[in-house]
């Protein structure tokens, strides 16, 4: 569903992504790991349509369409979901109002009628149960006054409501205690279907104890320097990122321009 070829991007003239290649198929879970500043969040933002980085080279195809030419709201309606590392507080806009607007925009895109108020509330109830979200959160303004954990759970709740084809979870585990981490992971696992996919971006291995990835990629200095199965995450956990940094030159899987 997603094919990234030689993606290069800069922020204010400084190159952050230096040629990313990645392919995600339906039903897969990919983990992208890497130290701070390696470009993980920039990649997530570019996929979701945030325009703070300039794409200088490369292509991103989503079901064969040119993803980069689509507006953020179109990408969402086509099934892309970004779980924010720092979800935004929007005072005065209720979760109900926000999600009703979003769900109905998605429905309109699919040629469906808007949900009635009662059907919508029923849907909210069901999804709240599915992802074990405290029912009170839904009565408040979007993320306003939410704790770090509540914000992340709320991201998973929104994901459940919008049922994306491709979810990109940007450091969803950061700042979570173990209970919140389990709730987030359970949510992701329960929403997993044969025809959707998830990209989990994380700094630590511990989320991957609960969400088992099919592929693990290590992003370092704007490049995917290593790709392997789930065992790579464990290896990273044991050896640390220094291993990747020092071993970079010797690694057979190191990406070099022209490869892929």
């Amino acid at each position: 569903m997603l094919v990234i070829r030689n993606l290069r991007a800069s922020i204010e003239g400084r190159e952050i992504l230096k040629g990313i290649n990645l392919e995600v198929k339906e039903g897969e879970i990919h983990a992208i790991m890497g130290p701070n500043g390696s470009g993980k969040s920039t990649l997530a933002s570019i996929l979701a349509g945030r325009d703070f980085a300039d794409v200088t080279e490369g292509t991103v195809k989503y079901y064969g369409k040119d993803l980069l030419s689509m507006a953020p709201e179109e990408r969402s309606r086509e099934g892309i979901f970004l779980g924010f590392q720092y979800p935004i507080e929007i005072p005065g806009v209720s979760m109900v109002n926000f999600l009703k607007t979003a769900v109905n925009e998605h429905r309109k895109h699919k040629g469906l009628e808007p949900l009635s108020a009662s059907d919508f509330l029923k849907m909210m109830r069901e999804k709240k149960e599915l992802v074990e979200i405290d029912s009170k959160l839904a009565n408040r303004s979007v993320n306003e006054g939410f704790s770090g954990g509540e914000k992340k759970k709320n991201e998973i709740f929104q994901m459940a409501m919008l049922e994306p084809k491709l979810a990109i979870l940007d450091e969803t585990d950061s700042g979570l205690d173990i209970d919140a981490l389990k709730i987030v992971a359970n949510g992701v696992n329960r929403l997993r279907k044969p025809d959707n996919a998830t990209i989990v971006i994380t700094h630590y291995q511990r989320l991957l104890d609960y969400i088992i990835p099919d592929h693990v990629h290590v992003l370092y200095d704007g490049r995917i320097v290593r790709s392997a199965g789930k065992e790579l995450a464990l290896e990273l956990e044991k050896k640390g990122y220094e291993w990747i940094k020092t071993g970079e030159e010797n690694s057979v899987q190191t990406w070099k321009p022209g490869m892929s």
Partner: protein
């Protein structure tokens, strides 16, 4: 163009022409104040931008226009108001209809609403509630240097009187629909008096709505007295057309333990100037002064707020927010005065405005005069654009840019609405704000008048 002297001469002539008629229908105390008020007005003249209080709002051109009439309601107008009354539907409040600020009933010039609140013409009240009117009329505007208040005292022929007897607590708000309507351009002035006695509790919604496209100028003055431990909420919903100018001056005097909120919700209007003065004159009195202004095209909205802490242990809170589109402009002046002995005062003030285009302009000015030393006081003002991060967050959920902007503006405005102390009104106000932001507001959906 006429000079400033010619302009004041115009009002001097207006005074001599209309005063006999006004005097005849008006009460003695009112009449006795007129000559002096006119003198004071002529001495001060129409405010210009050189006047500190009108620095950001140029009202002079409004007074230069030659209005066809100086509105004094006649039998035709009374009949018109009766017609509107027939269309009243879905009444979930005590409803009263005014024409151009006047209480126009012929037979029933003052009446008792269910629950025990009296409402009617101020002139009529001066007969029935003589002591009340004499005790309060003109007391809370004294010492004012705004010439337009003097002009009102000199020439207003009548207005609305509301009397809430001691201990009377209404569970439904009183809704006053003020229809601004005439086939001519009119300048109208009315004078209101609200007396909420000890331990009473009343909420009053005043909706201003223009019905005809003529050019209007309103200069209305309201004095309100709120007795010991009484609760008084005043909610103004201003929805007038672009050719209409509204100047309101509201003076609220509070005794000990009373709680007051003033809520100025400006949805639409060519030029709006709201002066709101809160006098905290009894210990433990609290006031909340809220304002929301949504302006576009060439509209201008000015809120001039003055909170005076005259005694110890009072709380005040000012919150004014607005969204400006196109080339609209707005101003906020928030004064906090704390008298020398008003210790343990808490006074807060916040003003935030979103500018949607580079052609809009906001002037925000805090004005703090604190003479006591044990005071908690904060103020802050922000002017900015819609939050880019929040925009992206909404868009990333599939919400279009236009809809995301609407949601953010609504959320911004809701911060004011959610502070309105009358809970059942919040949903209605939210709906009105949403309609306004969508550009769908012709008449207010909650209005009991079905005026099409």
């Amino acid at each position: 163009m006429e000079t400033r002297n010619e302009l004041t001469d115009k009002f001097s002539r207006l005074f001599s022409q209309t005063i006999p008629g006004i005097r005849a229908s008006s009460f003695e105390l009112f009449n006795s104040a007129r000559e002096k008020a006119m003198e004071k007005f002529l001495e001060l003249g129409i405010p210009t931008r050189k006047n500190e209080a009108y620095k950001y709002t140029n009202v002079e051109p409004l007074f230069r226009h030659d209005y066809d009439s100086f509105f004094i309601p006649g039998p035709d107008d009374f009949a018109k108001a009766e017609r509107f009354k027939c269309d009243v539907a879905d009444l979930d409040s005590h409803g009263v209809i005014l024409i151009n600020g006047f209480y126009p009933t012929i037979a029933d010039k003052i009446k008792k609403l269910p629950g025990g609140v009296w409402i009617g013409s101020l002139n009529e009240a001066a007969k029935k509630f003589r002591d009340v009117v004499e005790k309060h009329f003109g007391k809370y505007i004294s010492g004012e240097n705004d010439s337009l208040i003097h002009l009102n005292t000199a020439l207003a022929s009548d207005g609305v009187f509301i009397y809430v007897p001691p201990g009377v607590r209404l569970n439904k708000p009183i809704q006053i629909i003020n229809l601004v309507e005439s086939e001519k351009d009119i300048f109208n002035q009315h004078r209101n008096l609200i007396v909420a006695e000890e331990d009473s509790d009343v909420s009053l919604i005043v909706c201003d709505h223009t019905l005809s496209p003529n050019r209007f100028l309103t200069n209305g003055v309201t004095e309100a007295f709120v007795g010991k431990n009484a609760v008084f909420n005043l909610i103004r919903v201003q929805n007038e057309h672009n050719n209409s100018s509204k100047i309101t001056s509201t003076f609220i005097y509070q005794e000990s333990g009373s709680r007051v909120s003033s809520n100025n919700i400006t949805l639409h209007g060519g030029l709006v100037r709201n002066t709101t003065k809160h006098m905290l004159a009894g210990e433990r009195a609290e006031c909340l002064s809220l304002g929301l202004y949504l302006a576009d095209k060439f509209q201008h909205v000015d809120n001039y707020v003055n909170v005076e802490h005259l005694v110890p242990d009072c709380n005040s809170n000012q919150l004014f927010k607005g969204v400006l589109d196109d080339m609209s402009t707005a101003a906020f002046n928030g004064r906090i005065f704390v008298a020398k002995d008003a210790q343990r005062t808490s006074a807060y003030q916040r003003n935030s405005t979103i500018l949607l285009t580079p052609d809009t302009k906001m002037n925000s000015k805090p004005q703090l005069e604190i003479l006591a030393d044990d005071v908690k006081c904060t103020h802050g003002a922000t002017v900015g654009q819609l939050d880019e991060n929040a925009m992206f967050y909404l868009q990333s959920r599939g919400i279009s840019k236009a809809e995301a902007r609407l949601l953010l503006m609504f959320g911004f405005a809701h911060d004011v609405i959610r502070n309105i102390p009358v809970e059942p009104l919040r949903q209605r106000m939210d709906d009105l704000v949403m309609q306004r932001l969508r550009g769908e507001l012709s008449r207010c959906a909650s209005c009991m008048v079905k005026c099409g």
